[in-house]
């Protein structure tokens, strides 16, 4: 303790950089002392873990609060009313897409008609390739025999995405118009963005009906924040002179918004649309956890029963859908209206609309005549699930393959992961908090350090300390491994323009995949084991790491590398002493994202069977343990926020110090 006091005294006098380090060292020293005391058996149990009796029953309090809001304030009545409207919409899309027996009793739309319309839209947006992607995705889905489950997913997406768009747009406009709305929304948004998706799921289940309705609600809420941000951003960027021109033309406020602001902010709004669609897809797949049928549920079931072939096929479908939706909505962003010569007839102006309707009608009629155009039956599809399954399993059973995976598993588990986990668990709680605080202090400074101490203190009080530490252990080990692989990959790719572009494209594409997809290769190689969890997190976290490494290195100002060249530096010297230090702040953004992704993935991966918070969270979904669900969610959120605050603070600070643009 004397050390700490000393450190604090220096703070008052010495230069900031130096003392920060000293305080951090002092904190670490105390932590080490505590840990050693524990090892030799001198530390009382009460200092090792907070005793059960001292843990406040936060879950119970939260439950009481929820019950109050739900029943006494009548929120449940309100949401149940909303449910009816939503259900009506969902029934319509469900009827149209996969023929659920509900009003308007028109569906299902033949798969050929959907594929045809997708091709026309794709062609309109970006020519033949997009048309092929659009049609190809749906043709694959139909032929592989997944049409119905894919359309179950799409029917929810078709309700959730527009809903998220309109709500986000309206809130965005309000936040732009009224400063106080903006002030009120901003903090909520930043909390929403770090809350693990599981905390969205349970309230949705409780307040709305289980199944598609709850799924649609959770999906919508999850996708709203970026739409708000993009709308506000776009509206703020409209050129003032265009607005003045509108004013001088005598626009009323409403006319100004409708005819001047919104069309001028088109690009940003469409970028928002892209993000809404992608988030909706990511979430709608995850709603499998609350029993929503569709691609996600099927994938979950297939992976659970280790049917690798079918999992793989569903994975391809999800990836194709993601890539198609992403590419098409991005093409829409850059698509500019084209002009027609005067007196062009109506049908020429609306050529694509006419073609689209024609194609649709044609296939609808054709489907009446040729049944396979309408639906591909169980026995007609081309699914190779079994065969692929046998193939993969045979491949895995090959001696060299088996030996390799076995060895990786053994080395990882026995030498690295398990010892590391046991070590983390053996650290007394106060020492652990001190270590995290020291980390935040040395990187981010005083502010993040205080947050770190408070946040981890709260986690300790939540009563879920061990599971939190195991969660953290998965995250840290996976991200460390991801750094060891992803950063060198990024460095290699950044050497040439061509490879950088390719790697960035690959990363961007991979980022559009719903997180579930990353479980497939891990499970294929390592089965349903803890190694798979680390592996899937590793792959997921590697994507942003590689991406930002390339971006950081590519944006190092050329005059700096040239200066190093002129000084006669070797490639390695240049990399280590010039490029990496300058790229580090950008790379830090990548680290941060990797950690956030890892926290996210660790919960998804929990379904494989782990001992962390994720599994507990999944268990709460089965019941109606709202309070516990929130406590667990908040634990994850607090740990994630600690890293987020610290690393981002460091990155901005460092960028400023190096004179780099934000």
């Amino acid at each position: 303790m004397a050390d700490v006091a000393n450190g604090l005294k220096v703070t008052a006098t010495g230069p900031a950089q130096w003392t920060r380090g000293k305080v951090a060292v002092a904190l670490v020293a105390v932590a080490v002392v505590l840990t050693v005391l524990r090892y030799v058996g001198l530390l009382p149990d009460a200092l090792f873990r907070i005793p059960e009796a001292m843990i406040p029953p936060a879950a119970v309090w939260l439950d009481a609060a929820f019950n109050f809001v739900k029943d006494d304030l009548g929120l449940l009545a309100l949401t149940r009313t909303l449910t009816e409207g939503l259900e009506w919409l969902l029934d319509i899309t469900a009827n149209l897409m996969f023929g659920k027996r509900r009003w308007p009793f028109l569906g299902p739309i033949p798969w050929t008609a959907v594929a045809g319309v997708a091709a026309v839209i794709g062609y309109y947006l970006d020519g033949w390739r997009m048309a092929a992607l659009g049609a190809g995705t749906f043709i694959w889905t139909a032929l592989i025999g997944q049409w119905t489950i894919a359309m179950e997913t799409m029917s929810v997406l078709m309700v959730a995405a527009p809903l998220a768009f309109f709500i986000g747009l309206s809130l965005g406009i309000l936040a732009w118009k009224h400063a106080w709305v903006n002030r009120a929304i901003k903090p909520i948004l930043s909390v929403l963005q770090t809350l693990p998706f599981f905390t969205y799921l349970l309230p949705a289940v409780i307040f709305f009906k289980v199944g598609p309705t709850a799924g649609a609600v959770a999906t919508t809420i999850y996708a709203i924040p970026p739409m708000i941000l993009m709308t506000t951003l776009g509206l703020q960027k409209v050129s003032p002179e265009v607005v003045e021109a509108g004013n001088m033309s005598g626009c009323t406020k409403w006319q100004l918004l409708r005819h001047v602001y919104l069309p001028s902010a088109r690009t940003e709004i469409l970028v928002g649309v892209n993000q809404v669609i992608m988030l909706c897809l990511a979430m709608v797949v995850l709603t499998a956890f609350i029993g929503m049928p569709g691609l996600g549920a099927k994938l979950l079931a297939m992976m659970g029963s280790f049917k690798l072939g079918r999992s793989f096929e569903i994975g391809v479908t999800i990836v194709l859908l993601a890539v198609m939706l992403d590419r098409m909505s991005k093409a829409w962003v850059v698509k500019q209206p084209e002009h027609f010569e005067r007196d062009t007839p109506w049908w020429r102006r609306h050529w694509y609309l006419v073609t689209g309707v024609a194609v649709f009608v044609f296939f609808c009629i054709a489907a009446q005549v040729v049944p396979v155009f309408a639906e591909i039956g169980r026995t007609q599809n081309f699914s190779q699930g079994k065969e692929i399954d046998t193939l993969i399993k045979a491949f895995l059973a090959l001696d060299p393959v088996q030996n390799t995976t076995q060895m990786i598993r053994y080395v990882l588990n026995v030498w690295i992961l398990n010892p590391f986990r046991d070590f983390l668990l053996s650290i007394p709680t106060p020492a652990f908090i001190l270590l995290v605080t020291a980390f935040a202090l040395s990187l981010g400074g005083k502010g993040p350090a205080i947050y770190a101490a408070i946040f981890f203190g709260l986690v300790a009080l939540s009563g879920w300390w061990d599971r939190s530490v195991i969660t953290l252990y998965s995250v840290i080990s996976a991200v460390t491994l991801a750094i060891l692989i992803g950063v060198p990959l990024g460095i290699m790719a950044s050497r040439s323009e061509k490879w950088s572009r390719r790697a960035l494209l690959a990363c961007d594409t991979a980022q559009t995949f719903p997180s579930f997809i990353y479980l497939i290769p891990a499970i294929m190689l390592f089965g349903v084991t803890a190694t798979s969890v680390v592996m899937s997190i590793l792959i997921f976290a590697m994507v942003p790491l590689t991406r930002y490494t390339i971006e950081g290195l590519r944006t190092v100002p050329p005059e700096m590398t040239e200066a190093a060249d002129m000084a006669g530096a070797t490639r390695m010297q240049k990399l280590i002493s010039v490029q990496l230090p300058l790229a580090l702040p950008t790379m830090a953004v990548g680290f941060n994202q990797a950690i956030m992704f890892a926290f996210f993935m660790v919960i998804v991966a929990a379904f494989i069977g782990t001992q962390d918070l994720g599994q507990e969270l999944q268990r709460t979904l089965a019941g109606t343990d709202l309070g516990k669900n929130f406590v667990l969610g908040i634990c994850v959120s607090l740990m994630a926020l600690t890293f987020d605050l610290t690393i981002m603070k460091w990155a901005t600070h460092r960028k400023k110090a190096l004179g780099l643009p934000d």
Binding site: S239, E241, V242, E244, A245, G246, N247, M248, S249, G250, C251, T252, K253, Q255, H259, V260, P263, S264, R266, Q336, P337, H339, F340, E341, R342
Partner: protein, 338 residues
């Protein structure tokens, strides 16, 4: 003249910054532009009093950043002024309700913007028809009218283009067409011809002169081009650091610059091309012999001034002698700048 004042601007201030009103209230009246800037504020318009008369073309000149656009924006209440008062057609601009303001803009005002301010998502035709649309005119009428003015600015055949598909000069002409479409009584033109080639520029100038002469429009015109100013202006206002240094007829500005700054600013102008015989005519000694026309510039009379030997040459408007011009004085003007 007051009866015919369209815009009357009394001690108008426009200050940019964190708390302009509070700052203006607490600021000593003697503060200069630089003092204000030192306090972290910018005086876009600084204590300007100016009247614009019906049917005149008032040209505003001044260096970049001198506040020309800001002043015009105050006239149209695109900016709310920080202090002073501006009345348009007798109505106090600042006391108008939103509805009245929209009504005023729809019925009386038009503006061409320095950087065009075209709506990027609308075609040329839709851009030009936009103000008509806002007034609720039916589709057919506004289309007819828009096509008419598009022809006038020589953009026939590009009606369906989008702004980004046009050159700078073409975009500017769309902006001009948009304001022509509604034929407003009061016209604010912020460097409307800056991007046009000389030929079209001249055509456009003629068009505006025609409209002003025929329909009695009031025009406030900003330009950096002296030739343009001299060709168009009834009066010229010269601005510096947000303040109007002098506002007068072109002849008076070159002959009697109010400040050193105005003198410097107008130095480059060939005075002989600006000064009219009528301005030099002095009542009293009218001289003898055949008179010269009051509307002729000194340059127009160059040959006569050199060869004629009379000391005083009579000047006449419409055949009626109004005074005599001192030949030596006129010769001075002719020779000084050449």
């Amino acid at each position: 003249m007051t009866a015919d004042t369209v815009i009357s601007c009394k001690n108008a201030w426009k200050i940019f910054g964190a708390d302009p009103k509070g700052y203006l209230g607490s600021m000593p009246a003697t503060h200069s532009f630089d003092d204000i800037r030192a306090d972290g504020y910018i005086a876009g318009v600084k204590d300007v009093s100016i009247d614009v008369y019906r049917g005149e073309m008032l040209v505003i000149m001044g260096l970049s950043g001198s506040g020309k656009s800001t002043l015009v924006r105050c006239f149209s209440r695109l900016h709310d002024i920080t202090g002073g008062a501006i009345t348009v057609e007798g109505q106090d601009l600042m006391s108008l309700s939103e509805k009245e303001l929209i009504e005023l803009r729809r019925s009386k005002m038009g503006m061409v913007f320095q950087s065009f301010g075209l709506l990027p998502h609308r075609t040329v035709l839709e851009n030009v028809a936009f103000p008509l649309e806002m007034r609720g005119q039916d589709k057919h009428t506004r289309r007819e009218r828009a096509l008419e003015v598009i022809k006038l600015v020589d953009l026939e055949g590009r009606e369906e283009y989008f702004p980004r598909e046009l050159s700078g000069g073409q975009q500017q002409r769309v902006g001009i067409a948009r304001s022509l479409a509604i034929e407003p009584d009061i016209w604010f033109l912020d460097e409307p011809f800056s991007a046009l080639d000389p030929l079209i520029r001249r055509e456009m100038q003629d068009e505006f002169l025609r409209l002003q002469g025929m329909l009695g429009k009031t025009i406030v015109f900003i330009t950096h081009d002296f030739d343009e100013a001299l060709r168009l202006a009834d009066r010229i206002a010269i601005m510096k650091d947000g303040a109007v240094e002098q506002c007068d007829t072109p002849d008076q500005i070159v002959l009697n610059p109010a400040t050193e700054y105005v003198r410097k600013f107008t130095e480059v102008i060939d005075k002989a091309r600006v000064v009219h015989a009528g301005v030099l005519a002095q009542a009293g000694s009218t001289g003898d012999g055949p008179p010269v026309d009051a509307r002729a510039t000194v340059q127009d009379l160059a040959r006569l001034l050199v060869h004629d030997e009379r000391a005083v040459i009579p000047v006449a408007t419409d055949g009626k002698v109004i005074g005599g011009m001192d030949r030596a004085a006129a010769l001075d003007i002719l020779l000084e700048t050449s």
